[in-house]
């Protein structure tokens, strides 16, 4: 059996990659994908502990996170598409209309 620490390490790597992606990339679409990666990294951790501690709540929580992520993507993508149609770009650095 693969030891649980392997899963946790993989999850940490995925999370770090996702966080770096959010901070570094300028394309809104790629940032979204990075956020999804972070969410799934967390899901992986939850599943791992759920198995390890033999507690079903972790899995329930994962389902909840997935549902929220789906909703978030639906809204986020709609915004990105709308913005792209308007400005012909998905560069977040150009989205600064609301600043001072």
């Amino acid at each position: 059996m693969v030891p649980p620490s392997f899963y946790l390490i993989l999850s940490a790597i995925l999370f770090a990659l996702g966080a770096a992606g959010v901070l570094i990339r300028r394309n809104a679409l790629v940032m979204f994908m990075s956020v999804e990666m972070m969410l799934n990294a967390v899901n992986l951790t939850l599943i791992t502990y759920s198995r390890l501690l033999d507690n079903i709540e972790g899995q329930v929580f994962v389902l909840l996170v997935m549902a929220v992520a789906a909703a978030e993507v639906a809204v986020g993508l709609a915004i990105v598409v709308a913005y792209h149609r308007h400005k012909d770009s998905a560069d977040v650095d150009e989205m600064d209309l609301l600043k001072w």
């Binding site: 966080a19 959010v22 901070l23 570094i24 300028r26 809104a28 940032m31 977040v92 650095d93 989205m95 600064d96 209309l97 609301l98 600043k99 001072w100």
Partner: protein, 645 residues
């Protein structure tokens, strides 16, 4: 029937609601009819309750008051220990007041329907009038001090609104404000008194407070009594707070008759009668009451001697007669005071209605020296005014005679000799100014201009009928309180006896027919002297009044200007307050508070100006800030958990 006593309050309330909400779209006749019917129905209920009450035994088997009922309406305030229930207290005193209030109000409403005919805010007038009746009834029927206070403030409000009814006229608006502010001084005392009552007795209900009145320290009782009396002095226009009542004559005449003669101004007398146990628990409070009362009676009567304005003469007369009532209260002759309150309500309302009738005929003229000879042109008004004047001055066999003598007898019996002398002197002055009013306005040659003279006319029957009814009451009203020596029993004294049973002078004194007759003869002589003097000066030797005025011009000036009390109040109270107010506006409000607030606003603005640079608009900056924040929080928790190990 006793269970339906709440109907007394319901009818005026309905009248207020209908006329306030729908009055604008209703015909004038409908508005007046609704208002009059509302109060009339209330009067009928009060009458039925009164007769039902007479059917009950005056004393229960346990020796209590058999005619007293407390009817809860709703629980008003419940906060821990503090409980106030809005309930109706029905007993002899409250039903007497309710009868006087609703009875006189009904007549006044009918009179108003004609008198106010041409006025613009017809429905507003009747709404306020009905509201006044409602508030007055709440005042007299309340079972605790807080409910009484609601009525107390309510009638004050209605008084203010109705005095300032012609608010386009500056003097009327000012008079309304003056009445309100002067009353506020008294109400302040009343409110403090109520708080002190709660602090000392732990309850505000009459049934808890009065039996316990003798258990508090005499000093506390004095403080409570004097604070309550300050409230009474404000509402009932006694020294030093009487100044608002003469100015209140700016209101419509039926309002003067109803509120500023018959009902509202007697609220103070009622309150003192209701709280007599508290006043008696204090060694000195009743002395204050009797002295303030008699001084007010005397000085107001002297001021009435020289006034030229029909209604102002009556206003000073009202103050003076209220003084009499307080003499009765202070002497412990509570029933006599309430008796005078009742008869005064009849004849003073009548006199005011006559004033209204005269104003109606003379297109608003009020100076009695510009009238004269009205006797033949206005026979009905003359006849009713004559009855009113006779009753007011205390001519034997009319209402004022019996009630005033009861009070003077009470004062004499209680040993207050100087108040008795002043009171008798006041009786002479009263007769003088009352007959002066009658003689100057209705006898002699007409002194108005030709045009007014041609237009002179008697008032319509709608106005005359209430006047005639009040005149009948002013004659018959006295027979509910016949002197003891007549042997027929003093009906009002016996009726009210259970209320005042425990008071100091409750036990009927030993038979002293001789004393009673002597006192009566003395006061009748005083009245006769006043009458003869007025007849001599204003009928037989017309012009003598003017000569006398000239020979003592300085004295006349002082009295005519009401002893310069208004001016003194302006100098001593109003002006310093204005200076303080100006100081508060400029130094405190504008220079301190405003500047502090503005400075704070500027500080916040500057801070925002600096901090808005943080809002870069770049998503990645925000994400980085979040990331750093989360890492910081995590580091904190990690360190803390290591620390805990």
């Amino acid at each position: 029937m006793l269970d339906y006593v709440w109907l007394i309050l319901l009818f005026p309330l309905a009248g207020v609601l209908i006329n306030a909400l729908l009055g604008r779209w209703l015909d004038r006749r409908v508005v007046a009819t609704i208002a009059s019917l509302a109060v009339g129905a209330s009067f009928v209920v009060a009458l039925l309750v009164f007769f039902a009450m007479l059917g009950l035994p005056a004393e229960t088997e346990a020796g209590g008051n058999g005619r007293e009922r407390i009817m809860p309406i709703f629980s008003w305030i419940v906060a821990g220990e503090f409980e106030v229930e809005a309930a109706i207290l029905l007993d002899q005193l409250s039903i007497l007041m309710a009868l006087v209030v609703t009875g006189v109000s009904t007549l006044l409403h009918i009179y108003s329907a004609a008198y106010m005919h041409g006025e613009e805010y017809y429905n507003r007038y009747f709404t306020w009038l009905n509201l006044f009746v409602l508030m007055m009834l709440i005042l007299v029927l309340g079972n605790n001090f807080l409910v009484m206070y609601v009525g107390w403030e309510g009638v004050g409000l209605c008084s203010y609104l109705l005095i300032g009814y012609w608010f386009e006229k500056k003097s009327a608006a000012d008079a309304g404000k003056k009445a309100f502010i002067v009353n506020r001084v008294g109400d302040f005392g009343f409110a403090l008194g109520i708080m002190l009552i709660f602090a000392s007795f732990g309850s505000l209900a009459f049934k808890d407070v009065f039996p316990a009145a003798s258990t508090v320290l005499p000093g506390t009782a004095t403080a409570i009594a004097l604070l309550l009396f300050l409230g009474a002095a404000g509402k009932s226009a006694q020294i030093p707070l009487y100044v608002w009542l003469p100015d209140a004559m700016e209101g419509p005449t039926p309002v003067s008759a109803l509120i500023h003669a018959a009902t509202m101004v007697t609220a103070g007398v009622y309150m003192v009668a209701r709280c007599h146990t508290i006043f008696e628990a204090s060694p000195s409070a009743l002395n204050w009451v009797i002295w303030i009362g008699v001084l007010t009676a005397f000085f107001a009567a002297t001021m009435a001697l020289v006034q030229k304005d029909f209604k102002r003469i009556l206003a000073y007369s009202t103050i003076s007669q209220l003084g009499y009532m307080f003499v009765g209260m202070g002497a412990g002759a509570y029933a006599a005071g309430m008796f005078h309150l009742t008869t005064h309500a009849f004849f003073k309302a009548l006199l005011f209605l006559c004033a209204g009738s005269v104003m109606h005929a003379l297109s608003g003229e009020l100076d009695i020296f510009k009238m004269g000879g009205l006797r033949r042109k206005m026979p009905w008004t003359f006849a009713t005014l004559l009855v009113g004047v006779l009753a007011l001055s205390g001519v034997p066999l009319l209402a004022g005679f019996f009630s005033k003598d009861e009070i003077l007898l009470g004062a004499y019996e209680s040993g207050a000799l100087i108040p008795w002398i002043l009171g008798t002197l006041t009786a002479a002055l009263t007769a003088f100014y009352a007959f002066r009013l009658l003689f100057v306005a209705f006898y002699g040659k007409p002194r108005m201009d030709k045009r007014t003279q041609r237009q002179l006319h008697e008032s319509p029957p709608v106005m005359l009928v209430p006047m005639v009814i009040l005149a009948v009451l002013a004659v018959l009203g006295g027979y509910i309180g016949l002197p003891r020596f007549v042997g027929l029993g003093n009906a009002i004294d016996e009726f009210l006896h259970p209320i005042f049973a425990g008071s100091l002078h409750a036990a009927p004194a030993a038979d002293h027919t001789a004393l009673e007759i002597t006192l009566m003869a003395v006061s009748t002589l005083a009245v006769a002297a006043g009458f003869v003097a007025a007849y001599w000066i204003y009928v037989r030797n017309w012009g003598m009044g003017e000569r006398m005025t000239r020979s003592a011009q300085w004295l006349y000036d002082i009295v005519y200007n009401k002893y310069y009390v208004d001016e003194a109040y302006t100098e001593v109270i109003v002006k310093p307050l204005r200076i303080l107010g100006d100081f508060m506006t400029e130094a405190v409000e504008e220079r301190s508070i405003d500047r502090a607030v503005n400075g704070l606003a500027r500080l916040v603005g500057l801070a925002g100006e600096g901090l808005r640079r943080l809002q870069t608009g770049l998503v990645r900056n925000y994400a980085l800030a979040m990331f750093i924040g989360i890492v910081a929080v995590m580091i904190y928790f990690v360190i803390r958990s290591i620390w805990a190990l």
